[in-house]
Symmetry: C2
Subunit: 248 residues, 2 copies
DNA sequence: CTTTCCGTTTGATCTGCATCAATGCCGATA
DNA sequence: TATCGGCATTGATGCAGATCAAACGGAAAG
């Protein structure tokens, strides 16, 4: 392996900077070397399925670039998205053999994978990893519960505003931008994907976006480029008491 | 401390058998003694609030007997239940100071608590605990995602059937009963609580329960005592492909 | 330049659940 | 035994969002 890459990895996990740094920030150098030896990269094209629900899943991974989704499907085809994976997010669960959800690349996607068995072995030897993974999982659980409030009790308009707020915030975090006042970003999802996330139909999503545009809450350039005039106004529309919660 | 109680705890955690055994099954005797020294019990009456969202929470705990709920509330009063805590379930998160949800006792409730600081210290010294907690949290996350499908995509009738199936299964597990064919149990929730869990109104809950009764899927004795004739039929009504999923 | 295709928008109508409003059923209290 | 108060049921009506259907726009292919 390339000298430079290894060096970078030992300091900040190189190519998968954010989440891996988070996973191993507290590890010793030799533990990082061990992690280094079991990692590998996989690329997927937009639209490609990474894993089907029920498949054997012999790795865990974190997203390096691109966006993936977790979805559940009923026999009759009704679909509900249950997670949105942005760069730095973790997929897969140690101690489980089969995948519980469909994982799909919605944009071109690069993931950094660890074969599951060695990763589990390492977890046992390196307590920091389990502790860090626990923190991350608890955050995801909070996000899922926030989403339950949205699915169970919010109106279509509030749902759309909430989703836009979440994407704006995640985007700002990744870009290390602040969003004082407003925000500008590209929608990473189609109307149908948004509908699957929000428990709506794509027609309702389209109508509510048009309504938010008409009411001056957002501006659109093309179909995907969104400008949020006032973040405060958007959060108000979202019906959020505080800051709009987090995302899985 | 009483000799008998300590002995029991060291073997199977005595008074809080199920979850504590799960947490410490792999621990050494002296670690268990340490856990023993930081635990204490608290009782609540039906309807009492255990913790308000936003309060400082200086303990983690597991339910010994009774039932508690986790709920989120919007400013205008809309409520969504995001978790149902049955005996053996764990509450609270290490590494967080304030509670994220209202925790309420729906029946008389006994919890076994651990002061947070000592518990966190122990977690660092005892890797098994973090690993076990990770497993438990991942299970809860799966349950939350199953619930997202219910909230986002199921009809009122399917929601009710799903809830009944989940309660029947949890009840059977706790009683160590099998439910070949049918099941009988007490509903631990009012119609309003069911509505808050399912993202419905209490009137709709009532109507759909009546409908399931009329259609012979369940039988009612009084308002709470439920008899499920055929578990298969109930799961079919729930729209579940496999087994109805799990619960937080 | 034209055609095709896919995602999107917009319109018309339908319907499942919410909302508003009584009434019924106990168990508790006097 | 009468009365009250908290759940639960049932009915009548309204509306947000689903469904069905058509047309639009822009990128890619011929």
């Amino acid at each position: 392996m390339a000298q430079g890459e290894t060096g970078a990895f030992l300091q900040d996990c190189g190519d998968c900077p954010i989440r891996h740094r988070a996973v191993c920030a507290r590890c010793e150098a030799d533990e990082l070397t061990a992690l280094e030896q079991i990692k590998y990269y996989r690329s997927y094209q937009a639209g490609q399925t990474v894993i089907w629900s029920g498949d054997k899943m012999d790795f865990v991974a974190s997203v390096v670039t691109g966006i993936a989704t977790l979805t559940q499907t009923m026999e009759d085809g009704r679909r509900q998205m249950v997670g949105l994976l942005l760069p730095s997010d973790f997929v897969g669960r140690p101690g489980r053999v089969t995948a519980a959800y469909d994982v799909t690349a919605t944009t071109d996607l690069v993931m950094c994978c660890f074969r599951k068995k060695p990763f589990e072995d390492m977890m046992i030897k390196t307590p920091h990893i389990a502790q860090r993974l626990l923190e991350m999982t608890l955050d995801e659980l909070d996000a899922a519960r926030e989403w339950m409030l949205l699915l169970g009790r919010k109106t279509a308009r509030e749902k759309i505003a909430s989703l836009l707020a979440i994407i704006a915030r995640r985007d700002a975090t990744l870009q290390l931008k602040t969003m004082q006042g407003g925000a500008v970003f590209e929608l990473p999802l189609t109307r149908e994907e948004m509908a699957d996330y929000l428990g709506l139909t794509l027609e309702t999503v389209s109508r509510q976006i048009s309504a938010l545009k008409r009411d001056g809450v957002i501006a659109l350039e093309g179909k995907r480029h969104v400008t949020v005039t006032s973040m405060d106004r958007l959060l108000e529309e979202a019906g959020d008491d505080s800051d709009g919660g987090m995302l899985a």
